[in-house]
């Protein structure tokens, strides 16, 4: 509080007192000595008086530049109970020492993403005082950022300007929707596109592509030749959303791009359009390599991989040089089959449907290569029929799919199926193969899990418990179940809470740990139900 300064005299006197005190009265006697007081005491008297006088005379300082007001957040406020819950979830984060056994109480931090998604779904505004903790949480966990920043809203961006720790929020402004010009204002959009920073332009293109794919492409085409190669790559990538046959001419032109990465991305996008000229060219090349041989006992697929990668193939995005350790010819074959429309194959292979094609034997050990390429094609072309065929029956003994299909690929194939079918397949898989391989597959299932899937998981956990192993072998699945199981399943779990009798081949004490793990599962499900209830506008009225 420097405030209106005391008279220059007083300041000078005080400076003088400090100098004397620093040097000592023996060396520098005070200017004014009170009669009958030793020099140091007189100094202290004067200093005490000056100190109290200065403190008593303090005035406010002139105000600095006030920050401009944060933009209004028009969203409705959180219900009280939900605001309390948010505070608890965020407090858990800052408490932060995970480690150790989790016991029977829920892991609140893991519920934050779900809570944020639900709150965003309802369209609530974040309480202002929670913004610092939200920004800190988003800073620590990049996976939380989009949802946390969307929830935190415009005031968080205002706030982030004042704290260097929160710069990330300004860089990754969610969707940038707030900053985007009005969709009808073509002129403003063009200006932002031509003058904006790279991040703003990417955000603009992405948002525009979602609303009006044609306009977005035209905007991009207008400045295409002048963009830098790495920018072209990013912009091209944003066409992935809303891709349609109308994009083909533009993409076809991009096949001639100077940058190899741009060419490869253009080729990939074109191959996802089964009607494109590129897809047709790839189909010709791929079918030349794969044929049906009826000369033997039954029909078999014979494969004759390409002998060279010509310039036409390269132009269509085929990468000529294989990674270390892979043969050139199988590498080229994989790329051709992956990029060829799947619809080509029934005609080429005797009118068979995908299931029958996948069941055909393949000669000379080409099956792995061929099926893997089909898997990639099914994922890229989002072809549910082929995915279903390649996944096979979930109960098949070879762990649900052709040997070449890894868990990761199966997870991707599952993603092309609709949610109900996906859940059903995973439920079937778990019923046959148990939980040890199921983690990745469960990760692609829609939350909350459908009833059949939830039951399959609970049953499998029950079986695992009866088998006598420790629950932490299943901690990954348990964690998922806590987050994804439908809270309505709580009733079915009640019977699992008791500590079972220990049978002789069980691991010692496992029963107690299982009861604890199930207790945590039940508690977490109840908590999730309570969270959802608190956030629903009707539920909030009761709690108020």
């Amino acid at each position: 509080m420097n405030g209106s300064a005391p008279s220059p005299d007083a300041v000078g006197d005080w400076e003088d007192l400090v100098t004397t005190a620093l040097l000592g009265t023996d060396r520098r006697p005070p200017a004014r000595l009170a009669p009958g007081r030793p020099a140091p005491v007189a100094l202290l008297d004067a200093a005490a008086e000056a100190t109290v006088r200065r403190r008593a005379g303090l005035r406010p300082a002139p105000a600095g530049r006030r920050p401009e007001r944060a933009p209004e957040d028009p969203r409705p406020a959180l219900p009280t109970a939900a605001a309390g819950r948010l505070a608890a979830l965020l407090a858990e984060r800052s408490g932060g020492t995970g480690g150790g056994r989790r016991g029977s109480s829920p892991d609140l931090m893991e519920l934050l993403p779900q809570w944020l998604a639900a709150a965003n779904g309802h369209g609530y505004a974040a309480p202002a005082q929670a913004l610092p903790a939200l920004l800190d949480a988003a800073r620590g966990r990049t996976d939380l950022r989009p949802a946390a920043l969307a929830f935190a809203g415009p005031r968080a961006l205002w706030l982030a300007r004042f704290n260097p720790d929160w710069r990330f929020a300004l860089r990754s402004a969610p969707g940038g929707d707030a900053a985007l010009p009005d969709p009808g204002d073509a002129q403003a959009i063009r200006r932002l596109w031509e003058e904006g920073l790279f991040a703003e332009r990417v955000a603009l293109l992405g948002a525009l592509r979602a609303r009006s794919p044609e306009f977005a492409r035209e905007l991009l085409a207008g400045t295409w030749p002048t963009e830098r190669a790495e920018d072209r790559l990013m912009f091209l990538d944003s066409l992935r959303a809303g891709l349609s046959a109308a994009d083909e001419p533009f993409l076809e032109k991009a096949l001639g791009d100077r940058s190899r990465n741009v060419r490869a991305t253009a080729a990939e996008l074109l191959s996802a359009l089964p009607g494109s000229a590129l897809a047709a060219r790839m189909a010709v090349r791929a079918t030349a390599c794969v044929a049906l041989d009826r000369s033997g006992d039954g029909p078999v697929i014979v494969v004759e991989a390409p002998h060279e990668c010509d310039s036409g193939m390269e132009r269509d995005g085929v990468v000529a040089t294989p990674p270390v350790g892979r043969g050139e010819r199988s590498w080229w074959l994989g790329q051709l089959v992956e990029a060829a429309p799947l619809g080509t194959w029934p005609g080429r292979l005797g009118g068979r449907d995908p299931r029958e094609i996948v069941a055909l034997p393949v000669t000379d050990g080409w099956q792995g290569e061929l099926h893997a390429a089909w898997c990639r094609a099914a994922v890229r072309q989002r072809d549910a029929r082929w995915s279903r065929a390649l996944l096979g029956a979930p109960s098949a003994p070879e762990a649900g799919g052709p040997g070449a299909v890894s868990l990761a690929e199966r997870a991707k194939l599952l993603a092309t199926l609709d949610p109900a079918e996906r859940a059903e397949w995973v439920a079937g898989f778990i019923a046959t193969h148990g939980l040890s391989e199921a983690f990745q597959l469960l990760g692609v299932c829609a939350v909350p899990w459908s009833a059949p899937l939830g039951r399959a998981v609970v049953d499998a956990l029950n079986i695992a418990r009866d088998a006598g192993s420790y629950p932490w072998s299943f901690s990954g699945v348990m964690g998922l179940a806590e987050r994804c199981l439908d809270p309505a399943e709580v009733a079915r779990l009640q019977s699992l809470l008791a500590i079972p009798d220990e049978h002789e081949d069980a691991a010692p004490g496992a029963g107690g740990y299982w009861a604890e793990a199930f207790q945590r599962l039940v508690t977490t499900l109840r908590l999730r139900a309570a969270m959802a209830e608190e956030l629903s506008p009707t539920g909030a009225a009761g709690v108020g």
């Binding site: 405030g3 400090v18 109290v52 008593a56 002139p62 309390g84 004042f162």
Partner: protein, 452 residues
Amino acid sequence: MGGSTVGDMTEQGVRWTADQVLALAPDAASRKAGGRLGTAGPWSEAGSGKESVWGLCKGSGSRPYQTVVDLIGPAYKCSCPSRKFPCKHALGLLLLWAGDDGSVPARTEPPDWAEQWLAGRRERAEDKRPGSGGGAADPEAARRRAERRAERVTAGASELEQRLADLLRGGLAAAEQAGYGLWEETAARMVDAQAPGLAARVRELGAIPASGAGWPARLLEECALVHLLDQGWLRRDRLPEPLAATVRSRLGLPAPADGPPERDRWLVLAQYDTADAKLTTRRAWLYGTASHRIRLLLSYGAGGRAPELSLPVGLALDAELSAYPGGGQFRAALGERFAAPAPAGSRPPGVTTGEAVARYGTALREDPWLESVPAVLERVVPVPDGEQWQLADAEADSALPLTRAARSRPGLWRLLALSGGAPVTVFGECGHRGFTPLTAWPEGGGEAVPLC
């Protein structure tokens, strides 16, 4: 009046908010553990009534823990072995109760194990009240004891005066080289002299030379104020009585809180802890909604334990406070409480930044050693400006800088977030080092947000 009558009066008592419950936690770990137990899962036979909450919590053992909370207090009892107060079970139980999802029904009768403890507690509270039996000691002996102590304090103050004079004769620059040890030893001498107030001040003197630029001026100021206190004591017979009482209180001489009981609805403005190696000190600032007085309650916890008295911000309690003696003193003792704390729903009226510093200046007349006074600032805008933060009047070109301590607290960001550039109401401590914000209220209504 018996406790049960009081209980019946506010039986439907408003439940606390989760924030208020979490504010009771002695540390972050407890807050976290309590948060996990704040769900119906582990609890059974829970209930509330008669200003208390109870329940059985399933732990790792075979017998569930018995947890009971007396909301007048609040006070806690739990059969778990934790030495924290409140333990995680008590916190979890209160959270569950605050959540009001039906798992802690109201208006029920406590089970025997809870009833016994509650009854015992409230009987003791009864006994303590009217003119407790403490006065039985021999007044003559007490007078002689006080005299002996005064002699020792006089000897201590004279010795300290001598040391200060030596210091200034040789110069503060020399003292800087002597380092911390010199002050530690002098502080120990003041402890021996039974003048803990002097001891604490001397210890603080020792830290100043390491406090950065401008330390000689700060050291001289503080030395001068110690000198003023010594002189006040040595000439106390010539001081007006309120000032003499202030001197005694600043020296750390014990005095009973013998002010007349002031019954009011006391709004909890702020509560925060400071801790050193041996002692945790909890300060709670209260505002009397009828008397407009601001009072300070202190409570202590030894050896890392949290002080038992806990008053969450935003609650108001109907209680009597008695002031400690001394002019310009805010400290009071909590007397009888008439009901459990309940959400206040109101905020204190405030002043401008100019009025707040003027009040500090005026208060120095009665207590020149005062570091700061409590103040509610109305319509101020937090102004972040690199290292220099201010609270600026919304309607005038004047501002108070924030203290250095306040600038390093996370509450600072909550304050800025809450304001969003708009004027807010802020309660805090206003003194010669600047303003320390402790609690804020948003523009246009909304609950108190603790900043400390």
